[in-house]
């Protein structure tokens, strides 16, 4: 008998044994079905089952994050969610969904919430999905990923969807919790947290608090040498790509010093009676080991002094009151402060342009502070929950600061006046209304709209209509039409520098989406299939001006052609048409000991610009998804789990504007992760988790280094290079739970 046949018989035997145990497993399939269906609160701002929620959603649970060795929100999205995907360009995770991926977006088109609090900063709209989120993974109870336009209740940025990170309540995280984890030789993480329930002012209260420190250095990537292939345009010497040594016109080598990150963070939630206070503080410092047109532009190779540091601090105070029978009032006030500073050490003369200075130190400073209040009333007209109106107001006062500076790296002496200065304040207001109606037990309807006011644009209306119909036992259909918008950021509307022209009036980006899905549950099994089509308009991009556009701008006095050779301007420039499908199968057997799941997404997305040129979208894979299986061995034996994420090949981020005769394509990716976790035998308070990752492809779709575009007259630029992947990683950690 061959080994393969033996393996086949063994697998068959295990399957039969499991099936036998499953048949004899009590509770009824109906009860399992009821207990296995997720409860979501993000789609309509009220608790409801996934089937009736007015959107396609997936819930990433703490249990799954533990068993599949998840360390960050970005990993959870890749290994567990439906329809969304992230990339790690070794700097800050980028996110897309259902075929739409906007390069350099930094989460600007996904609204990210932590316990319902918006964490996208208000100057550039970015959000962090990696360690920069600053919420310890152990503190997360579950994550709701809502796909599709969500502006109807949340306003700007919710174009691809809304992600809500829900933290644990104290009674399920009681006691003290200590975690130490290391990606051996590359990073370590330590966190300490506690949860407790008590009475404060005679009101039942609870407190959860957690602190985390994460630090990563390496791995040390080696980059193939990239020749500049010509002398520096200004100095006439070979291009200087590092501070040390003579200029040699070569970028590359091993980056020992420039790939690092550091995140100290704290998160708190205090609930006292009807009040809930959340607070968050974090710092996220990181450096990428390469330069590209998006990251570390023009900076020296392997410079540890080229980095970005974000700081985030926010408070959110909520209150719930039942005013009269069937009438509830929820109100909250919130205060956010965010700042970001990006530093780049630039030694190439054409990038520094200050005689007598070896290295320019460029600094970009962004500050956004905002305070807001939201009032939301719910009226249950029939007092049966069948006809409920929700309406609310969300107002914000915002303050922004942005500027770019350059100084001498060695002396700290300023080399020029600040430029790109933005000093602004504004007020925004959103008013929303949502009506739900359940005329039948199996029919649920949801309609609503939100009107957003921003002093820079005409008001924006974001409607949504949704309906779900139970057609037979465990089976339901859902239809959703929704619109969403993204207000152009203050950077996009107001930035003017030596190479960026002040934008002409911009209009908000819009997306319209229609989707249909079918969901069938049978016991602990669930099959879901969906199809979607979305249409995006007015997408804002930094557009390199053509000769004709430059002439027109100069004629209007908007630029001085002698100050720069390349000029750009933020413009409403593109549209996207996107359609595709999603599919999910998940379930469990053997009293939930064996769990498995599969999510797939396929899409065709085409981008159009004003010239009428239709192109696919860069970076976005047409087909992606994840699969997972785990088994809880009995007693103190561990849980063993294997998860996979896969992405089809894709255009690189410079495939369409790089001008290469041969289009750069990034290979597809398959990443496997095996995890073993469980209690340490004999020490009930101590548990362990060890995981190993292997990525089959060693490249991401991001073009790095000097060769960002093709130059027909310079043969050195015939080749492009893609950002590397850390293909093999082993992570191990211990957790101590000290129960009161």
């Amino acid at each position: 008998m061959t080994a393969l046949r033996r393996l086949g018989f063994a697998a068959l035997g295990i399957a039969m044994a499991l099936a036998h145990r499953s048949v004899h497993a009590e509770p009824t399939p109906e009860l399992e079905t009821l207990l296995d269906e997720n409860i979501v609160t993000t789609a309509s701002k009220s608790a409801e089952t996934e089937t009736t929620a007015p959107a396609t959603s997936s819930t990433l649970t703490a249990e799954d994050m533990q068993r599949y060795g998840i360390h960050t929100l970005a990993e959870a999205i890749n290994y567990l969610s439906l329809g969304a995907i992230t990339f790690d360009p070794l700097f800050t995770a980028e996110i897309g969904a259902r075929g739409v991926f906007l390069k350099g977006d930094q989460g600007n088109h996904f609204l990210l919430l932590v316990d319902g609090h918006t964490v996208n900063e208000q100057l550039a709209g970015s959000a962090r999905f990696d360690h920069g989120l600053g919420v310890p993974i152990e503190l997360i109870d579950h994550v709701e990923v809502i796909l599709g336009p969500g502006s109807v209740l949340y306003g700007s940025n919710a174009m691809l969807g809304v992600i809500n990170v829900v933290t644990k309540r104290a009674k399920y995280w009681n006691g003290a919790h200590l975690v130490g984890e290391s990606e051996f030789g590359k990073s370590f993480r330590a966190s300490a947290g506690a949860g407790t329930t008590f009475r404060l002012l005679r009101l039942p209260s609870e407190l959860t608090v957690a602190f985390e420190y994460y630090r990563q250095k390496g791995p040390y990537f080696t980059f193939e040498p990239q020749l500049y292939g010509a002398n520096d345009l200004v100095s006439g010497m070979p291009l200087r790509t590092r501070r040390e040594g003579p200029p040699d016109g070569i970028w590359g080598g091993t980056a020992y010093r420039s790939y690092y990150s550091e995140v100290p963070a704290g998160q708190l939630r205090l609930v006292t009676g009807p009040f809930e206070l959340s607070a968050h503080a974090s710092t996220f410092k990181r450096s990428a080991p390469y330069e590209s047109y998006l990251i570390n532009r023009d900076s020296d190779f392997d410079s540890p002094d080229s980095y970005t540091i974000d700081r985030s601090l926010w408070f959110d105070l909520k209150h719930h009151a039942g005013l009269w029978e069937g009438v509830d009032l929820d109100s909250r006030v919130y205060l956010d402060s965010y700042d970001s500073r990006t530093f780049a050490s630039v030694s190439r003369v054409s990038g520094c342009l200050h005689p007598g200075t070896l290295t320019c130190y460029k600094r970009e400073t962004s500050v956004a502070q905002w305070i807001g209040a939201e009032v939301q009333a719910t009226v249950d007209w029939l007092k049966t929950g069948h006809l409920v109106t929700l309406f609310g107001l969300d107002g914000r006062l915002r303050k922004f600061v942005f500027q770019q500076d350059v100084s001498d790296f060695d002396t700290g002496r300023p080399l020029a006046d600040s430029q790109g200065i933005i000093r602004a304040r504004d007020e925004t207001l959103g008013a929303y209304l949502q009506q739900t109606w359940r005329p039948l037990r199996s029919l649920s309807l949801n309609g609503g709209a939100r009107y957003d006011f921003d002093p820079r644009f005409s008001p924006v209306l974001s409607p949504r209509l949704a309906g779900s119909l139970g057609v037979w036992k465990g089976g339901s259909f859902k239809l959703v039409y929704a619109e969403a918008f993204r207000a152009p950021t203050w950077i996009e509307t107001s930035l003017a520098t030596s190479d960026v022209i002040l934008a002409d009036p911009l209009t908000p980006e819009r997306v319209r989406s229609f989707e249909v899905s079918f969901d069938q549950r049978f016991g602990a099994q669930r099959l879901s299939m969906g199809a979607f089509r979305s249409s995006w308009q007015n997408l804002v991009e930094l557009h390199p001006l053509s000769i004709d556009e430059l002439k027109a701008a100069q004629a209007q006095g908007k630029l001085d052609l002698f100050k720069s050779v390349v000029w750009s301007q933020y413009q409403n420039i593109a549209t996207i048409d996107d359609f595709g499908f999603t599919g999910t199968y998940e379930g469990s057997l053997d009293h939930d000991a064996l769990r498995y799941g599969l999510n797939v997404t396929g899409s065709v997305a085409r981008r159009n610009d004003r010239t009428g040129t239709e192109r696919p979208i860069e970076v976005a894979p047409r087909f992606f998804g994840n699969a997972r299986v785990s088994y809880d061995l009995p007693g103190d034996l561990p849980t063993v789990a294997v998860a996979a994420q896969f992405k089809s090949n894709a255009l690189t981020d410079r495939s369409l504007d790089g001008g290469w005769p041969r289009t750069p394509i990034a290979p597809g990716q398959l990443e496997l992760r095996a995890t073993i976790s469980g209690p340490v035998p004999g020490l009930r308070m101590l548990s362990y988790r060890v995981s190993a990752d292997y990525a089959f492809s060693d490249r991401t779709p991001y073009v790095i280094g000097l060769h960002q575009t093709y130059y027909p007259t310079n043969r050195a630029y015939d080749t492009w290079y893609l950002a590397p992947v850390d293909t093999f990683r082993v992570t191990g950690g211990l957790q101590m739970d000290l129960l009161p």
């Binding site: 207990l35 409860i39 608790a47 039942p204 009032l329 006030v333 939201e374 504004d426």
Partner: protein
Amino acid sequence: MFRGGWATLFAAAVSAAGLSLARVGNAELVSVPLERQAELLARVASYDRNMLLRAGSRVQVLILANDADPDSIGVARRMEAVLHSIPDIAGLAHDERIAPFSSASELARLCRAQHIAIVYFGSGFARDIPAIRQALDGADILTVAAVPDYVELGVVLGFDVLSGRPKLLVHLAQARRQHVDLRADLLKLARVFE
């Protein structure tokens, strides 16, 4: 174009604070939708070995509301409507009605007199549950809570959302005291309090 933003924002904030503070209460959290609670209750009741004996031919469900708490009244009325649409509880026909809560002893008397099989507590009872638990010691009744926190205080069955999914909560010691005999296979699915 939006004007007077400061004024609007602060008016909204002040109004919210004023309205909210005017009605400070406990705002006890009902985390699982009532429709799902009713479906779970109907299924879980069949795992109580004494339910058929207790209920007879029809299950009598008493839904308690705290008259001083608008939330509580709302929860009770919605639960009544939802239960009404449920075809059976533990395979039996059922009747449900709302009653105001006066005292724990009166509740115990009412349950005995009216052959109540299930008592469902709306919100607004956190301070009364310990006394109710004592009053129902020895009674033959399944108590169920809309608010998950009540289970720790002594209600036999409750529902919460844990890891994004509904979770059954069972106070096993109180279940025994109230002659609720839940099957072991159900308890495997529940978070058990002693």
